[in-house]
């Protein structure tokens, strides 16, 4: 017994002294007096590299960001403030806890000055929390939640490409104006679906249309047959589907098989060109949706998409273009500020009016850091209209920035 006690005491003493010794060895974080912290600018890309969002953003967004870095260097040459620029990436697997840890790690370890992309709303909000705590920049491109520029907004977080409000106001109102007055909305019963339904209903009613039915489905869901029958029962002009990803694919296949497709138009809440490409245009038959950017819209978009395709063999989604635009404008802001200090860069970005290959009539709103710009109501082309592999969308209408986005939310307090 005595021996046991001695040993236990010894164990505690040894571990205790080791910890103390270790404490002495550790140094504080190194502070840098230069204009560029740690001598270089580090851009961190945090997104889904292996799961459902891999194609619409994923590894190809790194290519887009590297293109921005190359263009920045070419533009400023010797005058560039940021001489040494590094791009690091990590896979958050769409899990908020991993996104949160990886974001901390990027800011602390990799000395990232900014984190880009971050699809999946819960993961994006987790990174925004870290950006606020670490006082480093975060520009979200891949997530749709309006909370990023609403109740959860902060000084260092910007929302670049799209949000659920803009998706609804674009396609919802435009569809009503072109004759689709009566709607049935089918939505998955979770935050994204509920938000989208609320936004879509409001947009449809603002434009003088009517939402006859709102039908909740489980999430995730495989069998939509009963929901499609129910939605068609009120003889609507338009059925709106607010599901995304795999659920959307299921719904569209079953919608086409149901026979409802011949009498009713389909409006999709959120869709990427990669979804259309993988399903094939004949599954859609004139489906409309809101797109933040389309690669074949004009010569400027196309020129950039050609450069992108040379490196990746695919055409860019709006998320890829958004990543380029966000990275480029960040570097421009660093150039203008003459430093990568977060507060100075934020000051440069706030209120900035931007016209580039991604943003048209764009503005970084100072009040809530939502980056508003012109968006497009697009229609999926029919098979005989498709001239080349990725030319899948036809822009029906351009929706000006001030109509597409909600005014700054009163919930947002910087």
């Amino acid at each position: 017994m005595q021996r046991k006690k001695t040993l236990a005491l010894m164990a505690t003493a040894v571990s205790g002294s080791l910890v103390l010794a270790a404490c002495g060895g550790g140094g504080g974080p190194a502070s840098s007096g230069g204009k560029i912290s740690d001598g270089k600018v580090v851009l961190g890309l945090l997104n889904d590299q292996s799961g459902v969002y891999k194609d619409l953003s994923g590894p190809n967004s790194k290519v887009a960001i590297e293109m921005a870095v190359a263009d920045y260097k070419a533009k400023y040459g010797d005058k560039a403030v940021a001489k040494d620029i590094e791009v690091v990436q990590a896979d958050h697997q769409n899990k908020p806890d991993i996104a949160n840890t990886k974001a901390q790690e990027m800011y602390d370890r990799d000395k990232a000055d900014i984190i880009l992309d971050v699809p999946t709303s819960s993961a994006a909000l987790a990174v925004a929390t870290q950006a606020k705590a670490k006082k480093k920049l975060f520009i979200d491109i891949g997530a749709g939640t309006t909370a990023l520029t609403g109740a959860q907004c902060n000084k260092y977080t910007f929302h670049w490409a799209y949000d659920t409000y803009m998706l609804a106001s674009g396609n919802g109102a435009a569809t009503v104006e072109s004759g689709g007055k009566n709607w049935s909305i089918v939505y998955p019963d979770y935050a994204f679906g509920q938000d989208m339904t609320k936004s879509y209903s409001a947009a449809v009613e603002r434009a003088g249309g009517k939402v006859q039915q709102k039908i909740a489905t489980p999430f995730p869901n495989d069998n939509y047959a009963t929901f499609i029958t129910k939605a068609a029962a009120s003889k609507p002009d338009v059925i709106g589907i607010m599901a995304a990803g795999g659920d959307l694919v299921n719904f569209i296949k079953q919608f086409n098989q149901s026979g409802v497709a011949s009498t009713t138009k389909l409006a999709v809440g959120l869709m990427f060109i990669t979804d259309v490409h993988s399903l094939g245009v004949d599954q859609f038959k004139g489906t409309t949706f809101t797109d933040a950017w389309y690669w074949n819209f004009d010569a400027q978009n196309r020129a950039w998409a050609d450069k992108f395709m040379a490196k990746t063999k695919v055409r860019p989604s709006f998320a890829h273009a958004g990543n380029y635009s966000a990275a480029m404008n960040y570097l421009e802001a660093v150039q203008a500020a003459g430093t990568d200090k977060s507060d100075d860069v934020v000051k440069q970005l706030e209120g900035k009016k931007i016209n580039d290959m991604f943003l048209r009539n764009g503005e970084v709103r100072a009040a809530d850091h939502n980056v508003v710009h012109d968006v497009y109501q697009v229609k999926v082309k029919s098979k005989d209209q498709v001239k080349e592999e990725w030319d899948l969308e036809q822009v029906v209408k351009t929706i000006p920035a001030n109509e597409a986005y909600a005014p700054a939310s009163p919930d947002c307090k910087m």
């Binding site: 021996r3 046991k4 040993l7 236990a8 010894m10 164990a11 505690t12 040894v14 571990s15 080791l18 910890v19 270790a22 550790g26 590299q49 292996s50 891999k54 994923g58 590894p59 690091v88 990436q89 990590a90 896979d91 958050h92 697997q93 899990k95 908020p96 806890d97 991993i98 949160n100 840890t101 990886k102 901390q104 790690e105 602390d108 370890r109 709303s121 819960s122 909000l125 987790a126 925004a128 929390t129 870290q130 705590a133 939640t145 909370a147 959860q152 019963d189 979770y190 935050a191 994204f192 509920q194």
Partner: protein
């Protein structure tokens, strides 16, 4: 199978095989080394990751208490981990209490939830027990998903503060300090598990696992013991979940989804069931692997973790720790035998 049963009867407790029983100093050496590793971890591993390992270790131990010591496979432990994560977050956010108090509140909430769950689930064994626990976990998941005003739904509960009286600024400044502030809670949980296992109560649990009919014949109320250990296990999972949510500053649906229940069973089996040490070993492996692979640029994390799981289950039936311990035991025995021969 019969051989295994015989060996279990021979050995008093699975966590204390003849090896440490014969050489008690080995246990103290093990404890000292374990404590050293725990205290030195954030020096070698990025502190938030070290915190994740510690939280997952206690979570795995809580599952092991059921799986390894009582023979009950719970497939819904995410419910307790997640319930505590949310409760802890709500207490810390709205009441502003120091985080250890909030974590304790979370653990109590998890135990309260475990009472009715356990009451219903212990009436069944094997796959039916697993299904009942899974069903309860799914219910909790959907409640959290729908109750958006409180839980934030899909977006999760964001911005949980780390409060600790006068040390609030210190633990917020660096995850390194938070680790040392929170690790006592985890160690307390491990100590509790150790006490449970090495108590008369723990012996009854093992008896129930090996032969419930006999335990009942000896006069033990088997159902009541099972409910008690289920609630205790939920409490430990709750402690771990609470620390996890404070460490990350949020609680999300990820904490409640059924894959989290699956992951913790995987972690426990990888490390080795019925060992207590197995949980931490498995947790360290899985969390580190996820962390490293996330930055590696390799686009198929599931393939690697899945392959490792298959290899361990097929080749090392007792898990990493169990295999290592058995190997050491066999080596020491054979050495002694040769010495005696001479």
């Amino acid at each position: 199978m019969s051989q295994q049963l015989v060996s279990k009867v021979d050995v008093e407790l699975p966590s204390e095989p003849s090896l440490t029983a014969r050489r008690p100093f080995l246990r103290w050496v093990g404890l000292a080394v374990g404590l050293l590793v725990v205290l030195a971890l954030p020096w070698y591993i990025y502190p938030p990751v070290a915190m994740d390992i510690a939280a997952w270790a206690l979570f795995a131990i809580s599952v092991d208490l059921l799986l390894g010591y009582t023979g009950l496979l719970s497939f819904g432990h995410a419910a307790f981990w997640g319930t505590s994560a949310y409760t802890t977050g709500l207490i810390a956010t709205h009441v502003g209490l120091p985080f250890p108090v909030a974590v304790l509140g979370g653990a109590i909430a998890a135990m309260l939830l475990a009472l009715p769950t356990g009451y219903l689930a212990v009436r069944r064994t094997g796959i039916y027990f697993a299904m009942v626990t899974l069903a309860f976990a799914q219910m909790v998941y959907f409640i959290a998903n729908q109750w958006r005003d409180v839980t934030g739904g899909e977006n999760g509960l964001q911005g949980i503060p780390k409060n600790l009286g006068g040390m609030t600024d210190l633990i917020n400044s660096d995850a390194f300090y938070f680790y040392y502030a929170a690790i006592p809670i985890i160690l307390l949980g491990v100590l509790l598990a150790w006490r449970i296992v090495n108590s008369p109560f723990g012996r009854v649990l093992v008896a129930i696992r090996d032969n419930p009919a006999r335990a009942r014949a000896l006069g033990y109320d088997v159902e009541r013991y099972k409910i008690m250990v289920f609630v205790l296990s939920a409490g430990l999972a709750g402690l771990a979940g609470g620390v996890f949510s404070v460490s990350h500053g949020f609680a999300s649906l990820q904490e409640l989804v059924w894959t989290t229940s699956g992951k913790v069973v995987l972690v426990t089996v990888l490390g080795g069931i019925g060992t207590l040490w197995g949980g931490p070993v498995g947790a360290a492996l899985v969390v580190l692997l996820e962390d490293r692979l996330a930055s590696s640029g390799f686009n198929g994390i599931g393939i690697i973790t899945g392959a490792i799981f298959v290899v361990i289950v097929l080749a090392f039936r007792h898990g990493i720790w169990g295999t290592a311990r058995n190997g050491l035991g066999a080596w020491l025995r054979s050495r002694r035998r040769t010495r005696e021969d001479v």
